[in-house]
Symmetry: C2
Subunit: 337 residues, 2 copies
């Protein structure tokens, strides 16, 4: 039986360069399509046509066009690689987890932060991950309206705009606060699941947010008194800002692997920790397992350095447990899982 040649370091470097350029090109397409809606010199026939469509139609079309561009670029360069994109799913009949160990795989969201894009709020981006044997090794995230490009490759570091290593503050990298989640910026999202069902996901999320926000000692001891609560409307950028060290904690349920694959690659390369959002039965002692990419349940902690009393990893794990004590279990199913 013929064995495939192993994926070498040189191969990975080449894929990384290709992915970064692809992210830049795709982000440029996103920005150009956005600018069609407000450019002061909208004279072309194409632009006049666009004007007749509504914002949501434009966004859907842009989403599809940019995914098609990314998919065909990858197919031309790496015809043997597998492609998993948001639009792949939207049009398919299944939401089963399609990433396995068999082939090098690209997991892509052409436009993360779709609602933001519709409203021209700058927090939108393209998100491209390269996955080998089920592990995201490369992450490329480009938010063109913000001029922020986040890139990482396993062993090559994580970067903002290709020059600034992540996390930003790194000589030394600050430890997690001793009273975490106190002192932390907590990032979370309201999401699309807004059903008014008693103890449904909406209520479980809000109860969790409230526990994290309330004064220390409040909420029957669950008050976390976080330094701030932030909601950007982009899971990808939430992870990127966690990798940057700007957010300390990101907790979310309901998004999909294309929303998080590149962000997880970036965060892990920067030194962050990602595990499950749902608290185990014994949050103080349970194992802190590696995140499952397709689990739809994510808890991310920023890169952390050691303090006098504990290692960086120990500080991150302590923070995970303190979050788990304060949040509710969310109910997001995975078809076929």
């Amino acid at each position: 039986m013929q064995t495939k040649p192993a994926f070498t370091d040189k191969d990975l470097d080449e894929v990384y360069s290709f992915a970064v350029q692809l992210g830049k090109d795709a982000g440029k397409l996103l920005l150009e399509a956005a600018q069609l809606r407000y450019s002061p010199t909208r004279q072309s026939v194409k632009e006049q046509l666009v004007e007749k469509e509504n914002a949501v139609d434009i966004v859907t079309k842009t989403d599809e066009d940019v995914e098609a561009f990314i998919k065909s670029s990858i197919a031309a360069k790496y015809p043997s690689h597998k492609f998993v994109g948001e639009e792949t799913y939207s049009k398919g009949s299944t939401r089963s987890y399609l990433i396995d160990d068999s082939l090098p795989t690209w997991c892509v969201d052409p436009l993360d932060g779709t609602v933001n894009y519709t409203h021209l709020f700058p927090m939108f981006c393209v998100s491209i991950a390269f996955i080998l044997k089920g592990v995201p090794l490369i992450g490329v995230i480009y938010a063109p309206f913000l001029n922020q490009l986040f890139t990482s490759c396993r062993g090559r570091g994580a970067w903002l705009n290709e020059t600034q290593a992540l996390p930003l503050v790194r000589n030394p990298i600050p430890p997690m606060p001793g009273n975490a989640p106190g002192g932390c910026i907590f990032s979370c999202e309201w999401g699309k699941d807004r059903k008014d069902i008693p103890d449904g996901n909406l209520y479980r999320k809000v109860e969790s947010f409230l526990n994290m926000a309330a004064e220390s000692g409040g909420r029957a001891g669950k008050g976390g008194m976080v330094h701030g609560v932030r909601s950007l409307g982009s899971a990808t950028l939430d992870l990127a800002y966690t990798a940057m060290g700007a957010f300390d904690i990101w907790w979310e349920g309901g998004c999909w692997e294309w929303d998080v694959a590149a962000g997880i690659a970036l965060l892990q390369e920067a030194g962050g920790l990602v595990t499950t959002a749902n608290p185990p039965g014994e949050p103080t002692t349970a194992d802190i397992e590696e995140v499952k990419l397709g689990s739809r349940l994510y808890l991310a902690i920023r890169p952390a350095g050691p303090s006098e009393n504990e290692s960086g990893r120990a500080g991150q794990e302590r923070t995970v447990r303190e979050v788990w004590k304060r949040v509710r279990e969310l109910d997001y199913q995975r078809p076929g899982a």
Copy 2:
């Protein structure tokens, strides 16, 4: 009795130019101070000294330094003008409202989004308003990490980076959605008041957020099913993004005039509406009064164009009433008011 010479259009132009340059210079100081914490070439003695302080000390010092820079620059150029800044209050014994009709007044927050700045999350800015006879006429907001400069002067338009008129989408400016707050991005903040008091501000805010977010018809008819809920941690930038048209609705209680004066000037010049956050007894029929700058209670609606059925202003007012029906009254006192 000698009367003061009237403030001419030419005077206002001159003040505007001065304010824009002042905002750029102050924002540069903010960014430079931030970069001291992560620059890859931190070699100077000054930088080593900074390293010994903690992040909060650095931020407090930056806040004070930048306010002192702005205050002295204004005093040198316009010695007869009054200055009201955040630091003026922090060190004073009163939080009474100090803006009146007597003198041209500058209302300044040297650093809005302090928590973001501490964590190096890019959503921080300097905020400078020029107020004549109690009315904010000029607004300058500069977020240097985002490279976003927002400027406005009464009668001269509202601008992003001095070239792009606000709101961004303007040919035509979209009407408010017919089912608002459905279809809207709702911007709100958790703020610092996290006391675990039954029916305290924290609970009233969260109940309001939940009503705005929940599915239409949910929450006993109060469900607003907004398109998205966003929290940035900067009242000034919330208002700037509302002026841009990126946020449709901003609702907040507890901030102060220096947090909102420049943003209100910007939003009003762009065509937005600002009134009180607290719903009147009869939300469907009550007068929609002009915002009181020192009221600590703000509800802002983005610029809106006409639809087939109503004027832009009517759409904004309809949206105000729909928000009022869904939010709770907040309890923020004004000393001496």
